[in-house]
């Protein structure tokens, strides 16, 4: 019996060894450091959030000639966030049967717990590796992106926000934009986490959620050269246009310019860069050259409509009907 117990303990030790070898030492150290620093981090985050709340008016871009009726608050971090598009369809660490030592209940339980911990650590490491691999597409753009701030993003907008608290401000928009570049480098995609409140101290939230805008792929033969030309001016113009489109969509939604009852969801096909994508969604509006869809999460998705067979000339909302199809959230 003692021999069995020893065998089980050795199994657990071996699994821990495997865990240690699979998960990099730096990750263990990072995890331990993170645990140790958690209270400090939480304190700092609380301070950041408090500062963000207090500083909101100061962060709103103030431009003397307002054309919009919305004020804007961006996250306190100054640089615009970019990421690569991680391919998660094949993610997973494979399934294999595990033989647990069952000589005693305690050893069995320890073995199961070690297996579970190892499993989670490996999945987490893989997720991180996938994102790092995807982010490599941005390395050549680092000279421009490292200097690209939220201030630059807002300053270049064709339609400028108004100062918070001004008479023209009907909406207050809180925005947290994250841009992605497609693996083929032909198109940018924006995922903007937006909250639109009615202006005023007790403004009611009228829209909350991610607005995703997919740009049409650039026809340029060398997209990298195109985006980086003139100190990244085309890149900034493109991302600025996506940002403005996302806010316009959220404000339109807050103003209830579109039907609240979504049409029956269908599968829509569009291009993200040169890759084909599908989305189960309801058609909301044609805002040429984009088509606006409402996703199953009830968020907005704007995709390029450049090869739509149907005319894409109006901005009138599509007539909606009750949603009764499968996949309705």
């Amino acid at each position: 019996m003692a021999g069995h117990n020893k065998c089980g303990v050795m199994w657990v030790q071996r699994m821990l060894g495997v865990a240690a070898s699979r998960v990099r030492t730096t990750q263990w150290v990072s995890a331990l450091a993170a645990l140790a620093l958690l209270p400090l981090v939480q304190h700092a985050q609380a301070q950041d959030e408090s500062a963000a709340t207090q500083q909101t008016p100061a962060q709103v871009a103030t431009v003397p000639v307002p054309a919009a009726n919305w004020s804007l608050a961006l996250p306190p971090t100054d640089s615009v966030r970019f990421k690569g598009m991680a391919e998660r369809d094949k993610a997973g660490i494979g399934g294999a049967a595990m033989a647990y030592p069952i000589n005693t209940g305690a050893i069995f339980l320890a073995a199961v717990l070690v297996h579970g911990a190892l499993n989670e650590a490996t999945k987490s490491a893989q997720k991180s590796d996938l994102q790092k691999a995807a982010d490599r597409v941005l390395q050549p753009y680092e000279p421009v992106l490292s200097k690209y701030t939220h201030h630059d993003l807002v300053a270049a907008l064709a339609e400028q926000p108004v100062p918070a608290g001004s008479q023209q401000a009907r909406w207050h928009v809180q925005s947290d934009p994250v841009f992605s570049l497609t693996p083929d480098e032909t198109a940018f995609v924006l995922e903007n986490d937006i909250t639109v409140r009615e202006a005023g101290p007790q403004g009611v939230i009228r829209y909350q959620g991610v607005v995703k805008v997919v740009a049409a792929a650039t026809p340029q033969a060398d997209p990298r050269h195109h985006w980086m030309a003139n100190d990244g001016a085309p890149l900034k113009a493109e991302t600025g246009a996506l940002f403005l489109e996302s806010i316009a969509l959220a404000v339109d939604s807050a103003a209830q310019r579109w039907p609240t009852v979504a049409a029956k969801p269908q599968t829509y096909r569009y291009l993200e860069g040169t890759a084909s994508r599908a989305e189960r969604a309801s058609l909301v509006a044609a805002r040429c050259p984009q088509i606006v869809l409402r996703t199953l999460r009830n968020t907005l998705l704007s995709v390029p409509a450049d090869s739509m067979h149907e005319p894409c000339g109006g901005t009138a909302p599509v007539t909606a009907s009750a949603s009764d199809g499968p996949g309705t959230p």
Binding site: H115, K123, Q266, P304, A305, G327
Partner: protein
């Protein structure tokens, strides 16, 4: 002792080569359709399975029970989905074959290969079932079959623990049988998985996973069509972009395909 060792070796060899009888991939060759008279091809599908959840790797009874319990709400959700959109593959394949010059027709009734008699002969790329009776019954020379085995969500396990988040899933098989020789002219197993964009655990509606499910249906349609549209892609892209034929692997932008 020596004979026991030899017997064990033979047994092991038999066991290990059990997989060797599985049909190998047969790539589609455009020349298959080239003849003086157009090939008459029937396009059939087996009955579509109901969407469900699958947990490969949860092999022990307790593991499977644990996985089923942990994913109960996902299973309930999967069973509310429809796999009807896969049925359009039949018509899309027939259209693609017609564009290649074949005389294709859709066989509406679901095909049940299990009900067909076993083939009398065996050999390279010879089908195990005897499809030849369909030649006279359907007035066709070849039969293209899409057999969807599993559809829904897959979540691989290693015993008690999931090794991946759930994903939209289609497991299917496509094959083209020459009914004169009962041999495969195309044989393509297919396994499509699509991850949720963002978080997946959004019970009870699981919008992210529902989207991934429909993405998997679209991707399986694309993959099954790929051999039959690849050669004609240049012709299609030379034409003005259209929204209607959503069956193409490289579809036009923002095209609804659920209509």
């Amino acid at each position: 002792m020596k004979s026991a060792f030899s017997a064990a070796l033979v047994a092991a060899a038999l066991l290990l080569t059990g997989c060797a009888s599985r049909q190998a991939l047969v790539p589609f060759n455009d020349g298959t359709l080239a003849s003086a008279t157009p090939s008459r091809i029937g396009v059939a599908m087996t009955a579509l399975p109901k969407p469900d959840t699958f947990f490969p790797g949860a092999n022990c009874l307790l593991c499977l029970a644990s996985a089923s319990l942990a994913n109960r709400s996902l299973t309930q959700h999967a069973q509310t989905l429809s796999s009807d959109e896969l049925a359009k593959i039949k018509q899309n394949l027939a259209n693609a074959l017609i564009r290649k010059g074949a005389q294709a027709k859709v066989i509406e009734a679901p095909l049940d290969p299990g009900a067909l008699p076993d083939a009398k002969q065996s050999g390279t790329n010879v089908a195990k079932k005897d499809f030849s009776a369909l030649r006279a019954a359907q007035d066709i020379d070849k039969l293209l079959v899409v057999q969807v085995a599993m559809v829904g969500y897959v979540r691989p396990y290693a015993s008690y623990f999931p090794t991946s988040e759930p994903k939209g899933f289609v497991n299917a098989l496509g094959y083209l049988v020459d009914l004169r020789t009962n041999t495969y002219e195309w044989f393509q197993p297919l396994e499509i998985t699509r991850a949720s964009d963002g978080p997946w655990d959004e019970a009870p509606a699981f919008p992210g996973l529902t989207n991934a499910y429909y993405q998997a249906l679209e991707a399986s349609n694309d993959e099954l069509l790929r051999p039959f549209v690849a050669a004609t892609a240049s012709t299609v892209s030379a034409a003005p972009a259209t929204a209607a034929p959503t069956a193409e692997p490289s579809p036009p932008a923002a095209t609804p395909s659920g209509r």
